[in-house]
Symmetry: C2
Subunit: 309 residues, 2 copies
């Protein structure tokens, strides 16, 4: 089994009420890859600049991430994001974005990346997502993320890209904006009408909901008393979700998708406990499984007192 992700590889400078960090390793493909690395072989595809050095590569390699398709552009600068969060950690305030080498990104996939069983198109321009999707013909399960910018500027391209994947992973506000449906269930159904068999609505601290042909499933966010930096939570969710699915022996069924929601929730929860990749880089599979079981325990209930005995 193998998983390819295309998306940003970046440096993030982040300030929250609980601290700040300069130029941490970040970006969608990084958070995704680290989360997925606990379940399967993952190859991030994306460009970096000369400022991306052995130390950054080492963080990924230490987790077994295959870095061959990270393209180091001579003379270039890596994508850089600076942002801050107030006490409402659900809202990121962007202070600076420098695309650097990401501005002229033309995805180049190795044969290994192209033959992945699972594909994640992180939040990049939708035409690029389609281009990558077209190259990865072998994928048995593919998913994409996006953002308000593409909904506003290249909506038709985004809808075309959605028509080519099995699963859409978006914030609930983005699903509403994209479909024009104030009701989330209707919005999810409208997206499924375009092709995908599953829609995941990320809901920040409230967790995530899964819509499929056969029904609805939802999980709360894992309750944490200390959330220090929410950057990368959504991509860590996607990494846990798709990483788990890629590790399955057969195509994911509904029960598999539900468990994947659980692993996504768990990886996102670890990610936000500390800044950047700090927590996930020293995470263990044992800790993941422990929290997965705790999450399960937090969401189960019996039909009747008798059944509880």
């Amino acid at each position: 089994m193998s998983l390819t992700v295309v998306g940003s590889i970046a440096f993030d400078s982040v300030r929250t009420p609980f601290g700040e960090r300069e130029r941490m390793l970040g970006g969608a493909a990084v958070h995704f890859s680290l989360a997925a690395s606990f379940f399967t072989e993952v190859r991030p595809v994306g460009p970096v600049g000369e400022d991306f050095g052995p130390g950054e590569f080492a963080v990924l390699e230490k987790r077994g991430v295959l870095v061959d398709d990270i393209e180091r552009v001579p003379g270039g600068e890596s994508f850089f994001w600076r942002g801050r969060y107030e006490y409402d950690l659900n809202v990121a305030h962007t202070e600076d974005t420098r695309l650097g080498v990401f501005g002229e990104f033309e995805p180049k996939l190795s044969d290994a990346s192209k033959s992945a069983d699972t594909l994640f198109l992180a939040n990049i321009q939708p035409d690029l997502q389609r281009q990558v999707r077209g190259q990865c013909r072998a994928a048995r399960f593919s998913a994409l993320d996006s953002m308000n910018l593409w909904i506003e500027t290249t909506k038709d391209s985004l809808l075309a890209a959605i028509g080519e994947v099995d699963c859409v992973i978006l914030n609930d506000a983005e699903i509403r904006q994209l479909t024009g449906e104030s009701n989330l269930a209707r919005g999810a159904r409208a997206l499924m009408g375009r092709g995908p068999r599953a829609v995941v609505a990320k809901q920040g601290e409230y967790g995530a909901a899964l819509f499929t042909e056969s029904g609805f499933f939802a999980l709360p966010g894992f309750p944490l008393e200390d959330v220090r930096d929410p950057t990368g939570a959504g991509d860590s969710f996607a990494g846990g979700f798709l990483g788990y699915l890629d590790g399955l022996e057969s195509e994911p069924d509904d029960a598999g998708l539900r468990r994947a929601m659980g692993y996504g929730t768990v990886l996102a929860s670890f990610n936000v406990e500390e800044f950047g990749t700090e927590r996930v880089t020293r995470l263990t599979r044992e800790e993941i499984d422990e929290r997965f079981e705790a999450l399960r325990e937090m969401t189960q209930f019996d039909v009747s007192p008798a059944a509880a005995d």
Copy 2:
């Protein structure tokens, strides 16, 4: 078993993107009582005016609600609320509030009301809540709701009232505002530190979370494609929650509280499907149990593929 609720009994005029109604039967104690009536004997305590007629009493009596403690004030006018909702149904815009007889409400409880096993102090002035709490000494389980107005104007009284109940049922934003904790888990813990053994955080369409000594439990809102009028959702939740608990043979344990969360969620979901009390007045216990089971199915997942077989 018997349940007493003290709170508003009102007429509501409501406009949403899906329709409008003038002077519907409403108010916290009404929505609560109708929801709880599927599980136990419930007595609403509160004042109404001369405009409150046999038609309104009949709606309650048809569901077996005991109306003896509804005080009809000669020459008075019932509490009246006019509000509207935009497409974001989570936010109510108040256009008019007339307290009427509710402005000089002095709770008078009959002996039957005083001896209730379960007590719900709906959103009224906290000193009145304490006064009622003091009269209902036999209650094995008591809960209260409140609102931003009391947090801002009579916070100390509200905290004193919280210290006298077993359970607090508030919106998550209210818990944050009241405790000054941006983190919900910390806020809930702070409230439990004042006495209550359970804190329920209502989260609108995202569902509700339960904090107790022994842990955390959460349920999503029941997914609905048609939500027409969210007025009374929180009180219907409380009615399903406390109605179920009152019907139990023994004091509620954690498993009972979890099932009660399920019944609260189910009653709230029926309430919002139509305007005012329209849906709940023709609801059946069979429909409730069916949706409860559907909700359970939507939140369960297995630990491993093997466990699913």
